[in-house]
């Protein structure tokens, strides 16, 4: 009964309070600047008997650079900016031109553009749906390009305020990657 009352209240309040939209979210994210979080990632692949786990640190700098430092199962640092990824394993650095792989680029760009609050980049590549409110939002990104759709069904990004807390990648073949983020001070 109380629930129903709350729902009624919420419905009544809705027209008065302006809806939380993509512009609001992007503005908050853009204002955030640098961001850092520890992450754990689980890949659920049909080929594998059990999920593949990895964990480490994710860092975003307002300059546009995304850094993914994997600590387990082994160490690798990936830096990404302007379509180019650099991978560091021990002394070995490798350059990977992601702009050559239009299927892969949207995945990296979805994270970068969200953390940067870059609405234009997001809407250019994805059909964007936003649910929730400022303290609990959920972005659903569906690639526009056919090549990317072959590998990515949807990217689900959840967050609160200017923090991303969870990222789920769903593949057309049912494979999923779930990344959980624990934001901390950069």
């Amino acid at each position: 009964m109380r629930c129903t009352a709350l729902l009624v209240l919420a419905l009544l309040a809705a027209p008065a309070a302006r809806a939380f939209d993509l512009a609001d979210l992007m503005m908050r994210l853009a204002a955030r600047g640098d961001a850092a979080a520890s992450f754990t990632e689980e890949q659920h692949l049909a080929t594998l008997d059990r999920p593949l786990r990895s964990s480490g640190e994710l860092r975003y700098r307002a300059s546009g650079e995304l850094e993914k430092r994997t600590l387990a199962p082994r160490a690798e640092t990936l830096r990404y900016a302007d379509g180019i990824a650099w991978s560091e394993r021990g002394a070995r650095t490798r350059r990977l031109d992601l702009s050559r792989y239009p299927q892969v680029l949207p995945l990296v760009e979805s994270i970068r553009a969200t953390l940067a609050g870059d609405a234009q980049a997001l809407t250019q590549r994805f059909e964007v749906d936003l649910d929730g409110h400022a303290s609990a939002w959920r972005l659903q990104l569906r690639p526009r390009e056919a090549q990317a759709r072959a590998l990515i069904r949807v990217i689900d990004i959840e967050g609160r305020d200017a923090d991303v807390t969870r990222l789920v990648l769903e593949r057309p073949n049912g494979d999923r990657t779930v990344t959980t983020l624990m934001p901390h001070a950069p």
Partner: protein
């Protein structure tokens, strides 16, 4: 008289007929290699091949400008698709991954990947490789790799793809399509089926590209297509040369003929004036045909302009005959003028005969052509033309003009300031040359190229954007057959790899990447275990990993297929983009096969570490391997010719001084005649340099030609001023002035050409001739007449 005329004309016609037969039977070539040395080094032979029909000559570079990035991308994709369906192109690249390429790499990964070693397929090796692959899945490429896991758990395809990517610099990509560094243009390359020397084939291919592009859907007219490359240059150069040669020849002829007609007021004289030129040209062609067997198209082009001096002979004859063509006038001309003309011709020949000693076949031909041509023209002027002239031949009376010119000359020669003026000019010109001494000479072969400098720059920029598309610096492995060449390439690649890892070298390509030697393929196959062995090793290797054997059916099948497959051959590459790569990197010739390993510098701003490469190649122990720097090679070759040409020109000058000293029986007089020539060469050079030109081989030829035409002026004026009453007549001045004006007009027209070689001649001889006339007038010694 009539009997003699019949005899002379008969002999002349007989010689003309013989020369015509020789000229008609000669072989004419427009092939660049015909102009290059006869016995080139292996490197130069490679260069000539590359210029002629090599794969590099068949590469067209395309850039789409305008509109927005998605439009350019769509245009690039649809243009590439259309060209790939066109038989005129053997390869079209725009950055899109081709399904056939992926299929090829996947099907042959176990003989292509250098990670395939016996150790890789032991239990420990398998485990390490599978662990690596599982870790790769967490990276950015994981999205692509997860579908391959069951077939390629050891990650051979990943290793292969990353080694291929490391080998080629390639352009930047945007959303899978090549773009320029600033992202403002989409880039493509297309390799034509037609060879680079097949200009018609190139033209058809280029027109096909333009046609397809113009009719692409979504091309609203705003986007533009730029095409560059050797084929485009060949087509444009042919058009430019034909256009320039035709237009300028017609323009020059019309101007000269109208001028002569205006002056002579006699159609017969103008027409007869062509007789020595045509005879000289024919004599030149026949001499070259006899001497060389083949006549180069360029020789004909330049040679006709060198004959420009032959026009003067007829002018001297007609104007100096003056009153009429009776025996008395002719005898007077033979006595008074002919010796001077003969001496002028001999001095000209000194310069051109020196060129015939060159080791540059092109210059040898030019030297022989000009020598034979001038002798022929002079002899025909002396013996034949007077026979053809009507007895009652009369020109407009030029004596009033000549008289005025003579007065002018006399005043100039009495002017006290003339020595000062000449000295000031000489010092000024020398000063200009000293100031520009570091960049007087154009030391690159490209200076002879008929391609406009601007187009060369655009091509270089496009080439740089497209990455290692050029075979400018490479290791060449020469071997008796393909297998040995590939083995050599593999050994060199092993020696170069540490340089790449140390960052000394940016990377290199090798045909063995796509087509390993049979020996390497056999070794890799031998490293693959039979199915029962692999099946037994996998369970312990997979222990504790999230992957189990029952998922790896595709892997077991692929390994067994690779283990028992026939060797990979050249034919298996058909239909992939690697076919074009191997075609350009593995060159079959008469004396065996050469493998090319093009090198890439560690960074664009740094020169290639050639010394380190040489050391590595030496350490590889491959006997037929050499480091080749084509640009350096061609430029060294060109600088060699340039230096030699300058030395030969100086030899010619020395011969000229000796000849004049003997003929004039006085070193002092020889010096007086030579001085205006040297001064005009000095001032012409200074003018060119001050105008921002760097001197090329053709400028040197132009300077020789300047001395050739100028020597006649100097000899006439010297004779006249010295008090040779026969020469000190208005007709002398009028004829020399007219000869000078026709030369300046004829060569001035050439100076307008867009083709550098023609322009070089024109812009040298036009001012040079005028200056020679001025200096000859000013410096003629006031002798007995004073």
């Amino acid at each position: 008289m009539d009997a003699r005329r019949a005899r002379v004309v008969g002999v002349w016609l007989a010689i003309v007929a013989i020369a015509a037969v020789v000229a008609l039977r000669a072989r004419y070539t427009a092939d660049v290699s015909g102009f290059l040395p006869d016995a080139p080094t292996a490197e130069q032979r490679l260069l000539v091949e590359q210029l002629g029909n090599g794969p590099a000559s068949r590469l067209l570079l395309l850039a789409i400008d305008g509109a927005d990035a998605p439009t350019r991308r769509a245009l690039s994709q649809s243009l590439a698709a259309r060209l790939r369906a066109d038989a005129r192109f053997t390869f079209v690249g725009n950055g899109e991954l081709q399904a056939a390429d992926g299929e090829f790499l996947r099907a042959h990964r176990y003989v292509l990947a250098d990670t395939v070693t016996p150790g890789r397929f032991t239990t420990d090796g398998l485990r390490a490789a599978i662990e690596d692959t599982l870790f790769e899945l967490t990276g950015p490429a994981g999205l692509l790799l997860s579908d391959l896991l069951a077939a390629d758990p050891t990650g051979e395809l990943t290793a292969l793809a990353s080694s291929l990517e490391a080998g080629s610099a390639g352009p930047r990509s945007d959303e899978g399509v090549w773009v320029s560094r600033d992202g403002a243009r989409a880039l493509l390359v297309a390799r034509t089926a037609a060879g680079g020397a097949d200009t018609d084939g190139q033209q058809a291919a280029i027109e096909a590209i333009r046609r397809e592009f113009a009719t692409l859907p979504g091309n609203g007219g705003a986007p533009t297509l730029e095409i560059s490359g050797p084929g485009v240059f060949a087509v444009e150069a042919r058009a430019a040369i034909v256009d320039a040669a035709l237009k300028l020849a017609i323009l020059g002829a019309v101007l000269t003929m109208s001028l002569l007609l205006y002056v002579y007021r006699s159609v017969a004289a103008v027409a007869l004036g062509l007789v020595p030129i045509a005879s000289g040209a024919l004599a030149g062609v026949a001499a070259v045909a006899l001497g060389f067997g083949t006549v180069h198209g360029l020789t004909l082009g330049f040679g006709v302009t060198l004959i420009g001096e032959a026009v003067d002979y007829a002018i001297y004859l007609f104007v100096q005959l003056g009153g009429g063509n009776d025996e008395a006038h002719r005898a007077a001309w033979r006595r008074d003028f002919w010796p001077t003309i003969r001496l002028g011709m001999l001095t000209s020949i000194c310069g051109f005969a020196a060129l015939a000693l060159s080791s540059f076949p092109g210059l040898m031909q030019l030297g022989l052509y000009s020598t034979a041509g001038l002798v022929g023209a002079a002899l025909v002027t002396r013996f034949v033309v007077p026979m053809l002239l009507p007895e009652r031949f009369r020109l407009r009376d030029l004596d009033p003009v000549g008289e005025r010119l003579r007065g002018l000359a006399a005043r100039a020669q009495r002017w006290r300031g003339r020595a000062a003026l000449v000295i000031v000019l000489a010092i000024g010109a020398a000063g200009v040359l000293v100031l520009h001494r570091d960049r007087l000479w154009q030391t690159e072969l490209a200076s002879l190229s008929p391609v406009p400098v601007e187009a060369q720059h655009r091509d270089a920029a496009l080439r740089a954007e497209l990455g290692a598309a050029e075979v400018a610096q490479a290791v060449v492995v020469a071997a008796i057959d393909r297998e040995s060449a590939l083995r050599g390439a593999e050994a060199v690649a092993r020696a170069l790899q540490p340089l790449v890892e140390a960052g000394t070298l940016g990377g290199f390509e090798s045909p063995s990447r796509f087509l390993p030697s049979a020996a390497t393929q056999a070794a890799r196959r031998a490293a693959l275990p039979p199915p029962e062995v692999l099946r037994a090793r996998l369970p312990p290797a997979l222990e504790g990993l999230p992957l189990s054997l029952d998922r790896l059916g595709p892997f077991l099948a692929d390994v067994e297929r690779a283990r028992t497959a026939p060797p990979l051959t050249r034919d298996d590459l058909r239909g992939t983009s690697f076919d074009a790569a191997v075609e350009s990197l593995l060159l079959d010739g008469e004396d065996g096969t050469r493998a090319l390993l093009p090198l890439r510098a560690a960074s664009e701003t740094q020169p290639l570490a050639l010394d380190a490469v040489r050391a590595a190649v030496a350490s590889s122990g491959v006997a037929g391997a050499r480091v080749l720097d084509l640009k350096q090679e061609t430029d060294a070759m060109y600088r060699g010719y340039l230096g030699e040409t300058v030395r030969l020109a100086l030899v010619g000058l020395a011969a000229l001084v000796v000849l004049l000293t003997l003929a004039l029986r006085s070193p002092w007089r020889a010096a007086r005649v030579t001085a205006p020539l040297l001064l005009s060469v000095l001032c012409t050079t200074a003018l060119l340099v001050a105008a921002g030109r760097q001197l090329s081989l053709l400028h040197v030829v132009g300077l020789l030609l300047t001395m050739a035409v100028g020597s006649n002026y100097a000899l006439f004026f010297d004779g006249a001023a010295r008090g040779n009453v026969a020469l000190d007549r208005p007709a002398t001045y009028a004829s020399v002035a007219l000869a000078c004006v026709t030369s300046v007009v004829g060569f001035g027209v050439l100076a307008l050409a867009d083709v550098p070689v023609l322009r070089a001649l024109g812009e040298t001889v036009a001012p040079g001739g005028a200056l020679a006339l001025g200096f000859a007038l000013l410096l003629a010694a006031r002798g007995a007449r004073a």
